[in-house]
Structure formats: structure tokens, C-alpha cells
Symmetry: C2
Subunit: 575 residues, 2 copies
């Protein structure tokens, strides 16, 4: 194992390597098999020629090569890579001092602030696993996640102090609560035993941290609403995080020193692995507590932002902004979008503003985006604007580091014809597909049935090899980029004493992409109004999950008694 | 294991995966260790989430995504990625039909032609190991390499038919000889049992090839003259080739679809891994049989070349070319150079021609370049042209995928102070350092002493973390980008009946960078002239290894009888 330690001087690194003596034919580090014959003899892996893949290596390298360059900008706060590195080592060291180590979970509930960025390195540097929790969740779900993930530490941004306090009240475990006080936050309350800065103060900047013992070691845990009521914990490992971080840099041609605006929440698939990508290419993170149009345009103009990511709902917001805001942008900006196919008008509008849109697709289970709509310039540049937007609305092809992508019959795994018409399920495989769901072997087995990850998304495969998603086989509603499990909403409805039956489907929404629409059958004699239902849900669900439409009546069913959701979807669209 | 097979239609891929059922806690594919606790249970590697890293994946992906784009251009011959992929599968299939498989060596003696490019994929696709042999070597050395590497196949470019025939005459092994007939070659002779095209005809384009069983499997074998007389066989594996291919794309910011001119021989560290890099970014290889100034400029202008690599001797040649040739270039071209520090005049001259020079450094043992002189624009752009050239002449910092780089005392491995004055040996570690030397455990152990690869190059470490090579601890002369072992030249001299003692050192040469200079003590009474010595060497050494200077006299020695090479180097420079 290799340890890294250094003193206060940036740029100074001393190695504390131990030589692994490798006798012939023994000690197969990180390998299961060995080649036969002359190439299988005396050519073993050891410290000199084998290093566990981890995105932590990129942090060390960028600190070494570009110590003075800006790493993170947040309002008045500005850090260099030397400073960010030091803060990460201090965090790791302080956590280790408090007994946190390999395989322990450290949860964070925070907006896109420097402490959230630092956690992506500092937590795994001590061997622990980072669990970034969705800040939009209700207290009960946060409590479930803390309990299920067995978090030993929770670091809480001031803004989310109140909801965290409520979640912790429901918890029966011992957990160290660290409060993050951020000068840009004017609401909420700092909670916890000690502050983040006090914790850093307990740590040492010359603490000898280590790469993971194994690149398969877990690095983060991300809860997804998935298809069932309870969130599932998606586990990422160091190898996958390393590769997907590099994949972002390559598929998007980011170049050196991008200035990246944090419109995409870091609690979504670890910001699609971009904290680690920005360590690959020595970029600058521009933090953003709230995604408001003025804040976004101001940051792009004043910090010279070159790249950002966001769901089409974010792009829509920018398009609808005041001309005075939009006119601030005089340089080219690249935008990566996912979560729903960007409508043609959005693509055209963004490009008219000088923003180049790349459409990507992925899931929490795939470390974020793993496909992209690669632009075939020589074939497509001559098409009409409408046709170009149509081409770009497709989810596309696999990125360099996804090893397999197909649209197939989910049972036989037979690929569908590439005719643009036959439907099948999108399936993936490769090193940037999750290890599995934490403490949920059954769900893991099911989703990997046949040796492929089953995305639950239904798509067609075009003749040119590009996939296009048409529907979801799982009952998920994506509203404003957030996944909502229709089953979770149905469960809440079922708990209402007046409700006999309920079914929830997605309804297309101009602003949010989709929004939940509830169909409810009441018990005989009960007198409940739509606003009663909404009010009830507001008490039991995160705000963004509450149905915006409630329709009363009988539910259409199949002969075997299953609710015909496709009929409800049609009805919802007709409302 | 995953197999890939497809029919004739480009873009069509059918998967033949077999599901690896993973019982809890078993079958740790590709891993030596498992995390403890909740993250070590039921989160195993299997076909869905673990793929062996191999650059062959990039070929498949680029064939899938860009089947129609140009892959290889050579005179009148033009291939698309669909065609190159098909030719590679045919090659792999034909080799497999003839019994070649995992761990077998397939040697190639060829210029930078399409067949050489295809070999970088087709040979490992059947599990075999590619051994690209330096075309400038003499028959005896080629014979040694074929014998030592246990090559079962030798594919020979027409130009090198005669020397291969001579080498094979000295061989006692059974080897299949395949002749490559190239219409651009007007010399030499096609030899062998069958032609390359006939071999491809034996293969099938829908043969099911496989990724390596293990990413540590050998992919290529590259002989280096090293420090001793006999060449040493450097073994690369799939994991390292994958990572260094990606590293090239990232460190050089190549973007999508570069047009790459093959001035750098593919037999040098597999063209610094660029055949695989061009599969990562779907680039075009422009082949070049001979590196002549007119051919280089013509290709850059007519094919729109964007990138090429070469030793400073190549850059010098281009600078000295006729104005009419140089004036053809109207677009920006990026050049990567290594092998010797590029003189300031060369950097300035190239940049005046619109060519951006990136200075890199590496060895055969490190898959080619692993350090680069990263440009610190914000700090250096304002410097004078001379100072900028000085800064760029340094070998720089590690690329993203080299895990460790230091200048250290070779015995204690204590890093030297970063003062720009203290000398130490350049040491590296990481996944892009070779597995070891084939069938040479002693040399492997020695060069990895202490868990670091010892480069043999002596350098200083500057305060800003950049290394600069000052001398070589090993007796290597680099002439025109080729390594010459001084010991090998000395051995040839010693065999001359009139020679009593001999020592060979590098002498700085304006054209070649360095050239061998021989100091010879004759036996008493023997009457031998300098031209006799040169003539004798021409019979026993490759042309580029023949000393260009021969000096007669006693050799300066230490008290223990060792030749004082530093004294000879001073004398050589004074000639």
C-alpha cells in the first residue's frame, strides 16, 4: 500500500512507499487470472507497476502541478488547489482521528458549496464512503437513509439544519453531527456538536492518507428513489469513479482548466462525477447555493464559466430569463443536459444564446451520464435546424468507457432490430455501472439479470446505432430533474383514511418536464376534496413529490386486475 | 468472459454474453481484496459491472459510433473504421485458425503502414502478443529478438524482406512468415509462405473475438537496447495500454477526430500507444513509409494533419526544409517531441511555422511518454521567447495517469531537494509502467528496486515541481531518436582483432542530437585506421549505431580500473 504525506509547503511531496517483494508466480495484486506461458512468469504486479485506480490520484496530481490555480470559488471565498488539497487532508485526518475509516459511511446534507466539493475527496481519503443526501427530501426519508446507510457522521449545511434535526429525532443510532456554517446562507440553523471548520482544525495537513486498498472499495453511496417506496442505496467504487471522471473529460472535450458552474446538484450521482473530473483537468468549481436565473447568468459572466450541466428545466429557466440577464453572456458556454430529452426549441434557443448543448443520458446506477448524442458533423451539419434538434434529442451512443449498450428484450436479452420502431429496454454493462444496491441483494440480482444492468427505460434503436428513449417501464416520474417514485406517492395516498385505491402517473409539464398526477377512488361515503389530498400529501411527502393534479373515479384495470397505467397516462395528458 | 461477434453489416453488433452468477462473497473478479462491513457484502464484480480494461474496447466503440469515418490513409489506400475493424477481426480470426492464441508472440517488421496499425488490434484480439521490431536493426539482432521472444509468426514488410531473410537463416525455430506487399514500396522483396492479404482472406469477419481474460494479460512486447548488449523485452499489458492511450488524449487535449501523421515509428513503444489513442478519439492515421521533409509537408497540407510526434531531429529536418515546402502549411499543427530536450531555436522555429510544441518524456518501459512540460499559461505567457523555450525544454511533470514521479537518490530513494541543482535519478511508478522484462527476472528486479522504476536518467528537480534531465546514468546514446547501447558498440569494437580496449560515448550532434564516438586503444603493433574501424562496425552493427568518430589512444581510468567516461565525454565534445 502506498501512503501520501507531506508538510505544509505546497508542491512538496514525500513518498512513503513500501516495496512489495514479488516472488515469481505469487502475489497477484488486483488480478484474478494469470496468462500462461512466458508472459505469465516473473511479470507480476507490485508497487512499481500497479496502482489501484482512484480519483484521489487526480487531486494529488493537480495539487502537485497546479497548486496556485483556482479550485473552488464561492462568493467571497476563493481556494487554490493547494488549499483545497490541504482542507481535504485535514478533513480525512480529523475523521480518522475520530475513528472513521475503511467502509464507514459519512453522510452530507448540503447545497453545492465548497464543503460539499471537499467531501468528495476528504471522506474517501480516510477510507470512508461519502453519502450525499438529496436536500429536497423530507425528514422521514432522510432518517431512513441515515439508518439504512449506517452513517456514522452527518455533515449538515446551515440551510438544512431544521430538516436534519427532525430526521435525527427519528433516529436511534449514534451519529456525529457536524454543522456547516456558510456566510451565503440566510435561512436555517447551524446544528451539531461541532462545526466543519472546527473539525478541519482537529485534522493535520501532513497526515499520511492512502489510496484505497482495492480499487473495488466503495467510494460513495447514492440513494435513488427507484421503483419501490424505500430508496435504494447505489454503491460506487474507486475504479468506476476514476473511469467515469475521465470519461466526462474525454466525451465532452473539456480541455484544461474548464470553469465549471455547479447548477447540477452534487447529491445527484456525485454531480455526475464532475468533482473528480475537475481534478483530472485542473478546472475551477463555481459554487451556487440556488439555481436562480440571475445567479446563473451573473456567475457565467463574472467568473467566465465555460461549462455547466442541468436538466432541461434549468435550460428552460435560462431561456425565459430577462434579456438584460441573457445579454451578459459574450463567450461560448458548453451545456450538458440530461433527465429528459431537450425539446427542439430549447436546443435552438440555447444555441442562439451561444451555448452548445450536449445531450447525455444515464442513471444513478451508472455514475451519471454514460451515453451521449455524439454529433456526426460531416453527416448532420447540413440538416435543417429542426432536424438537427431531432437528431440531438436522441440519447445516442455509449461513451468511451461504457463497455456495452443495447436495446433488448428484457427477458431474452435479444437485441431489438435497429429500425427506429421496435421497442426494448436499455441495458448497459461496464466499469461505470454500480457495484450494486447496498444491503439489497435481491434488487441487485434482479437489476443485473442476465449479466446486464436493466435501466427500466424503454427505447428504440435507430439504424445509425443511436438509441432513443420512448417510455419508462418503471413507474418513475421525473420532475425538474428529480426522480419521483409513483409507488411512493401511491403509498402516501393509500394511507389517507378516505382513499380506497390510488394510481399515480406522470403528466407532461411545460416547466418541470413531468409532474405527478394522482387518480383516486374514494371509499364509499367518504367526502374528501382534491385539496384535502394535496394537503395530506404535503405532510407525508417531500414537496416536489406532491401530486399537482388529483382526479377522482374508478381505475381502469386489466382482466387480471392490474391498473392500466397507459390509460391513465392518456387521461392525464388530456387534462 | 465476453465475446464479440458480428456479421458483415457495419454497425451491427450482437452480444454473446454469459451471465456470471455471483453468490454472495464469492468470485472476486479482478480483485485481490474486499472491503469489510456492509460494503463488502453482496456487491461483487460480475459481467454487468466489471470489464477488463483493454484498448480493444475503443476499437469496437469507434467502429460502432463512427463506422464511416476515415481510420487509415496510405497513398491511394483509404480505410474507414468499419473496414479497419473488419480487417482486424479477419487478422485475429486467421491467426486463431492457425493455432495462435493467448500468450503467443506475433512479430512484425514493418514501416508505418496500415498493416502495422491493424496489427496493434488484430494480434491482441486473438489473445496474442504483438512484437513490433525496430526496422533499423541488423539481421543478427532481429534473429536474437525472434528467438528470445519465441515469435510464432513474423509479418514482414516488403522493404525489410532481405534483412528478415538473413535473420531467419540464423534461426532454429519454426515460424510462420507472412509477407506484406505495399504498392508504395519500390525496394526490397516480399518473402514468406503467404501474403498478409491471403492471411486476411483465411479469416472471417464475424469471428467472435474476446477481450483479454485478465487486464494484466500481455498485449505487446517491445525490445529496448537498454544498457547491456542484448536487447531486453519490455512487456506491456492491456490495462496499461488502455490507460496510456487515454492519457495521450487527455494530456495533449486532442479532441475528437484528430488527423495524426505517423512520423513516429510504431515500433517505438507501439508508437507511444497512439494507435490505441486514435481509437479512443476516432482519429485518422496518415501513414508514412519514410520521414522525408517533402513527404511530411505534403501529407500535412493535403490530409489536413493536426497532430504528429517526433524526436527533435525530425523537427530540425522540417525547419531546414525549403521555404516552398514550409509555406504549404496554413493551419495549426500540434507536435509532441521527446528523445532529447528540444533546443530553444527549434521550439521558436516550429512555433513561427504555426506548430505548437509539447515536450514530453518517457521510456520504452513506461509505454512512451508519461511526463510532459505542462504549460503554465498564467505564469509563463509573459516571459521572453528565450525564457519560454528554456521552461519548455524541461521534461516537466507527470501526466494524469502516471501515479508517481520523483528525482531521488537511487540507493536510498530519498527525493532530492527541489532546488534545480541537486542531481538524482528519475523514478516512476504507476499503471503505465511495464510489467517487466521478458524472461529476465534479475533485470526486472533490479530496475524496480525499492518499488520504483529506475529510469537511468539523471535529473534535477526545480522548485516548481518540474524535472529536468541532465545526464544519463546508463550508457545510452540517443541518435535521431534511436537508443544505442554504448556497450553493444563496444562489444563490436572488441571483436576487431586489432583492438585492445574501447569505450564509446555520446557526442552532441547538431543533426542527430547525439552520435556515437569511439575511443580505441590498439594492440601493440597493429596498424588499423579509423576508416578500417568504421568499415568493420558497418558489417556488425545496424547503420545508425556505427561510430561517426574514432579516436585512438589510452583510456583514462579510475584507481579501480574503471574507464572514466565523463572524461571521454568532455574529450568527445571538444573534437
Amino acid at each position: 500500500m502506498t501512503s501520501f504525506a507531506d508538510g505544509a509547503a505546497p508542491g512538496q511531496l514525500s513518498w512513503q512507499g513500501t516495496y512489495v517483494e514479488v516472488p515469481a508466480g505469487q502475489e497477484k495484486l488486483g488480478r484474478g487470472l494469470v496468462m500462461a506461458g512466458i508472459y505469465g512468469t516473473d511479470l507480476d504486479a507490485h508497487e512499481g507497476n500497479y496502482t489501484q485506480l482512484s480519483p484521489l490520484s487526480f487531486l494529488l496530481r493537480t495539487r502537485d502541478v497546479y497548486p496556485h490555480r483556482p479550485s473552488v470559488v464561492h462568493g467571497e471565498r476563493r481556494y487554490t488547489w493547494a488549499q483545497t488539497y490541504e482542507r481535504c487532508v485535514r478533513l480525512a485526518s480529523a475523521l480518522a482521528n475520530r475513528g472513521i475509516g475503511r467502509g464507514d459511511t459519512v453522510a452530507v446534507l448540503a447545497a453545492n458549496i465548497p464543503e460539499m466539493f471537499e467531501s468528495h475527496f476528504g471522506v474517501p481519503m480516510c477510507g470512508a464512503v461519502l453519502n450525499a443526501i438529496n436536500i429536497r427530501l423530507d425528514a422521514a426519508t432522510i432518517a431512513f437513509i441515515l439508518q439504512h446507510g449506517e452513517a456514522r457522521v452527518l455533515m449538515v449545511d446551515k440551510e438544512f439544519g431544521p430538516v436534519a434535526r427532525e430526521a435525527l429525532a427519528n433516529l436511534s443510532v449514534d451519529i456525529l453531527v457536524v454543522g456547516i456554517d456558510d456566510e451565503t446562507c440566510e435561512v436555517g440553523e447551524v446544528i451539531g456538536e461541532l462545526s466543519y471548520e472546527t473539525l478541519l482544525g482537529e485534522g493535520s495537513s501532513d497526515w499520511a492518507w492512502s489510496l484505497p486498498e482495492d480499487e473495488w472499495d466503495a467510494i460513495t453511496l447514492n440513494y435513488t428513489s427507484g421503483t419501490t417506496g424505500n430508496p435504494k442505496g447505489v454503491v460506487y467504487h474507486h475504479r468506476g469513479a476514476y473511469l467515469n471522471a475521465v470519461s466526462n473529460a474525454i466525451t465532452w472535450d473539456m480541455g484544461k482548466h474548464p470553469v465549471y458552474l455547479w447548477t447540477l446538484p452534487m447529491f445527484h450521482c456525485n454531480g455526475w462525477c464532475f468533482p473528480w473530473t475537475l481534478a483530472v483537468n485542473a478546472g475551477t468549481s463555481v459554487c451556487l447555493r440556488q439555481v436562480r436565473d440571475d445567479a446563473v447568468f451573473d456567475a457565467i459572466a463574472s467568473e467566465g464559466v465555460t461549462h455547466f450541466c442541468g436538466a432541461p428545466v434549468v435550460l428552460n429557466m435560462l431561456l425565459a430569463a430577462d434579456t438584460s440577464l441573457r445579454e451578459q453572456i459574450t463567450h461560448q458556454v458548453k451545456v450538458m443536459t440530461a433527465g429528459a430529452a431537450p425539446p427542439a426549441a430549447v436546443i435552438e434557443g440555447m444555441e442562439a444564446m451561444g451555448m452548445e448543448v450536449t445531450h447525455v443520458y444515464g442513471l444513478t446506477e451508472t455514475y451519471g451520464p454514460v451515453t451521449l448524442c455524439e454529433w456526426q458533423g460531416d453527416l448532420w451539419d447540413g440538416e435543417s435546424a429542426a432536424e438537427r434538434a431531432n437528431l440531438k434529442a436522441r440519447q445516442g451512443v455509449r461513451g468511451q468507457m461504457l463497455e456495452g449498450l443495447m436495446v433488448a428484450d428484457p427477458d431474452t436479452l435479444e437485441p431489438v432490430p435497429r429500425d427506429g420502431r421496435s421497442m426494448g429496454e436499455v441495458c448497459m454493462r461496464g466499469n461505470n455501472v454500480m457495484s450494486g444496491y447496498l444491503k439489497n441483494f435481491r434488487a441487485t440480482q434482479e437489476v443485473f439479470e442476465g449479466g446486464w444492468f436493466h435501466s427500466g427505460d424503454l427505447a428504440v434503436w435507430h439504424e445509425d446505432g443511436y438509441i432513443q428513449i420512448k417510455d419508462r417501464s418503471k413507474d418513475i416520474i421525473i420532475s425538474g430533474g428529480e426522480n419521483i417514485s409513483s409507488i411512493e406517492v401511491e403509498d402516501a395516498l393509500f394511507r389517507h383514511p378516505g382513499v380506497l385505491e390510488a394510481a399515480v402517473v406522470a403528466k407532461t409539464d411545460e416547466k418541470w418536464g413531468e409532474t405527478p398526477c394522482a387518480f383516486v377512488t374514494l371509499r364509499t361515503g367518504s367526502e374528501v376534496s382534491g385539496s384535502d389530498i394535496v394537503e395530506y400529501c404535503q405532510k407525508h411527502l417531500a414537496r416536489f413529490k406532491v401530486p399537482r393534479y388529483v382526479v377522482f373515479g374508478d381505475l381502469p384495470k386489466t382482466s387480471t386486475g392490474k391498473v392500466q397505467k397507459y390509460v391513465l397516462r392518456e387521461r392525464a395528458e388530456a387534462l
